[in-house]
C-alpha cells in the first residue's frame, strides 16, 4: 500500500512513515474480529461472518425502520438483551412527526421487552458506555455513523444502516472484510488548551475524509494514554470523519476505572492490544506537544488548519454533540469562560451530551459558569448537530461549533457557515466574537 506524504512544515513532526511486512502476530483489530468470527486468527482482506455481542440503535435508525421489516419477514429479535435502544435524534419532540417517531420507539421497546432502553438520557454514543454496556473484547454494531466511539474501550464497534441492522437483529451476525490497521502514534503530551478534538481535526486535514479507507485506525502513544476516557472517545468518535470503519484504543487502567465505575464487570484489559511486531499497513508518528488548536473551515472537517490562520467574526458558538459536549468538553469551555461574559451580539448554545454529564457539570459548578457567561442550555440530545431537531442555524449565520461535521446545510440553512473547533476554541471565540486561540485567554 502507498505510504502517505511527509507533512508540511507547520504540522507536528512526522517521525517515521512505513508500510510493515506481514507477520503472524495480530493487530488489535484482527484479534477482535477473529474472536467474533470464532477463529484463531484472521488476515486483512479476508471476508468473515462475525457474531454480534451488542447492537445499539436510536429513535431515527431504530424501531421506525426495523419494525416494518421485522413484520414483513415475520421475524423476531435474536436476543433482546444484546440490544441497547436510546432516544436522542428526535428528543425533545417538537411536532406530530417527531412525537410519532418517539412513540413508535417506546412502543417497540415495550413490545419486545427491551430492558436496555434509555429514553431522553442523552446521546447514544455517550450513554452506552456510561450505562456500562461496553467493555474490551466486544464486537458491536451501532445504527449511527459515530459508532466507532465504542472503540475507545477496546471493543470493535462500527456504524451500519437500518437494513443492515435488521440483518443483525434477525440473525445476530454480520459480514466483514477484515481491516488493515492504520496506526496514529502520538508522542509527547498535548499542551494546555489543546484537546483530542484538535488531534482529530488535524488528522482530517492531513488525511482527508477518506484517509481511513474504511480500515481500522488505532490510536497509540503517550499522548493518547494520557488522555481521559472521554477524550479518547472523541478520538474514536471522529474516526468516522476519517472514513475508517472503526477507531481503536488498547484498553488500560483508565479504561478499567471508567467501566467499573459505570458498573461493567469482568473487564479484561490484558488481552486486547496490538502485538509488538504485528503488521500494520500505515504507521504515522506525530508530536502532540507541537500541535496547535485546529479549526476546520466550511464545509468539511478536512478543511482544518491552525487557529492562527483565522480571524473571522462569528455570531453563534455551539457546544454540543457526542464529540463535543461531554463532561470534559463542558469543563474545557468553563475554564475559558469562568468569571467572564460572552461578547455582545454573540450567542452561546450548550447542549450537554448526556443527563449524567450535565448533572456532574452542575455539581462541579461548570454549568453555572457557562450560564453566567451567557450560555443558553439546550436538551441532552443530538440537537443542531444532526440537523433533525427544531433548532437549526439560520440564513448566513456564522457559527463556530464543537461538533463533528460542517457539511453545507447539515445544521441549518445552506448559507450558514460552520467552523469546527474544540470546546476551548469555541468558548474563546464566544468570548471575543471572533475565532480565537484559546491559549490567549486561558
Amino acid at each position: 500500500m502507498p505510504c502517505l506524504p511527509i507533512p508540511t512544515s507547520n504540522a507536528p513532526t512526522l517521525v517515521s512513515d512505513m508500510a510493515a511486512s506481514q507477520h503472524p502476530p495480530q493487530t488489535l483489530a484482527q484479534k477482535l474480529v477473529a474472536k467474533a468470527a470464532g477463529k484463531q486468527q484472521v488476515a486483512p482482506g479476508e471476508i468473515v461472518t462475525c457474531k454480534v455481542d451488542l447492537a445499539m440503535f436510536h429513535d431515527s435508525s431504530g424501531p421506525r425502520r426495523l419494525a416494518p421489516m421485522l413484520e414483513r419477514l415475520g421475524a423476531t429479535v435474536w436476543d433482546r438483551d444484546r440490544i441497547v435502544l436510546i432516544t436522542d435524534h428526535y428528543v425533545p419532540a417538537y411536532d406530530d412527526d417527531s412525537r410519532k417517531i418517539l412513540q413508535i420507539t417506546r412502543d417497540w421497546a415495550k413490545a419486545n421487552r427491551i430492558r436496555n432502553f434509555y429514553d431522553g438520557e442523552g446521546i447514544c454514543h455517550v450513554v452506552l458506555p456510561q450505562k456500562g454496556h461496553l467493555k474490551p473484547g466486544l464486537f458491536a454494531v451501532g445504527g449511527d455513523s459515530h459508532s466507532p466511539t465504542g472503540g475507545a474501550f477496546g471493543a470493535y464497534m462500527f456504524g451500519v444502516g437500518a437494513t443492515e441492522m435488521l440483518g443483525v437483529v434477525v440473525t445476530g451476525e454480520i459480514w466483514l472484510r477484515v481491516p488493515e490497521t492504520i496506526r496514529m502514534h502520538w508522542d509527547g503530551r498535548l499542551g494546555a488548551g489543546v484537546t483530542a478534538k484538535d488531534m482529530m481535526l488535524f488528522l482530517c486535514g492531513k488525511f482527508g475524509m477518506d484517509g481511513g479507507r474504511y480500515q481500522a485506525v488505532e490510536y497509540a502513544g503517550s499522548a493518547v494514554t494520557h488522555l481521559s476516557m472521554q477524550e479518547r472517545m472523541t478520538l474514536t468518535n471522529m474516526t468516522a470523519e476519517l472514513g475508517a470503519q472503526t477507531g481503536l484504543i488498547a484498553p488500560d487502567a483508565v479504561t478499567r476505572a471508567f467501566l467499573e465505575a459505570a458498573g461493567a464487570r469482568d473487564v479484561d484489559t490484558a488481552s486486547w492490544h496490538t502485538d509488538a511486531d504485528a503488521a500494520v499497513d500505515e504507521h504515522h508518528v506525530f508530536d502532540a506537544s507541537a500541535l496547535a488548536p485546529q479549526v476546520a473551515a466550511p464545509h468539511s472537517p478536512a478543511n482544518a488548519r491552525d487557529v492562527s490562520d483565522y480571524n473571522e467574526a462569528i455570531d453563534t458558538a455551539y457546544i454540543g454533540a457526542c464529540t463535543g459536549a461531554k463532561l470534559d468538553d463542558l469543563r474545557a469551555a468553563a475554564m475559558v469562560l469562568r468569571g467572564k461574559r460572552i461578547a455582545t451580539g454573540t450567542q452561546l448554545l450548550v447542549a450537554p451530551a448526556s443527563k449524567q454529564d450535565q448533572a456532574a457539570a452542575e455539581a462541579e459548578g461548570v454549568m453555572k459558569v457557562l450560564v453566567d457567561a451567557g450560555a443558553r442550555v439546550l436538551p441532552n440530545a443530538c440537537g443542531v448537530c444532526a440537523g433533525y431537531s427544531e433548532e437549526r442555524f439560520g440564513e448566513n449565520l456564522r457559527v463556530i461549533s464543537s461538533t463533528a461535521r460542517n457539511f453545507q446545510g447539515r445544521m441549518g440553512a445552506a448559507s450558514s457557515q460552520v467552523y469546527l473547533a474544540s470546546p476551548y476554541t469555541v468558548a474563546a471565540s464566544a468570548l471575543t466574537g471572533r475565532i480565537t486561540d484559546p491559549r490567549s485567554v486561558l
Binding site: 431515527s60 435508525s61 428526535y90 444502516g161 435488521l166 440483518g167 475524509m209 470503519q245 457539511f407
Partner: protein, 166 residues
Amino acid sequence: MSGAVGRVWKFGDNLDTDVLAPGQYMKFGIDEIARHCLESVRPDFAATVKSGDVIVGGRNFGVGSSREQAPQALKHLGVAAVIAVSYSGLFYRNALNLGLVVVVCQDAQRINEGDQVRVDPEKGIINVAGALMQLACEPIPAFLMAMVRDGGLVPHLEKRLKGKAA
C-alpha cells in the same frame, strides 16, 4: 445482471449523505425525502431524473451519516446504478443492502454528464455511449450480488427464511 442503458448525472468528490437525504426531511417517509434528494446542489434532479438513469461520482461518494435513506432515495427515484471512484464504506454497504448497484471505477470521471451508459456489475464492465468507450469497474463480489439480485437484504432474508420453513 447487465442493466439497460441509462443517462448519466455527474457529480464531484465527497457528495455527502446530508445532500442526498437532508436532515430536516428525515422524519418523513422515503417519498418526501426523495423529493428533496440533491436539491441543494441540483435543484432539478428529483423532478427530472428518469427511471434507469445512472449517477457518476468522484471520490468518497456518500460520505457522512449512516442514514440509508441516502441510497434509498436514489433507488426510489429509479436510479439504476452509481459509478464512483470510491465510496464511504457505510454508503457502499447500505446501497447493496437496499439492492442499489454501486460500482467502483477508477476512471469514473472520464464519463460525462448526459452520456448513455450500461453497467455490468458482475463482469465489471461499463459501456459508455454505445460501445465507443469501455471502462473497467471492480466486480461486486458474488455473495453480495446474490443479495442485490434479490432486491436487497430484506427480500434476500425473506427468501432464506422461507427456504428454512419449507
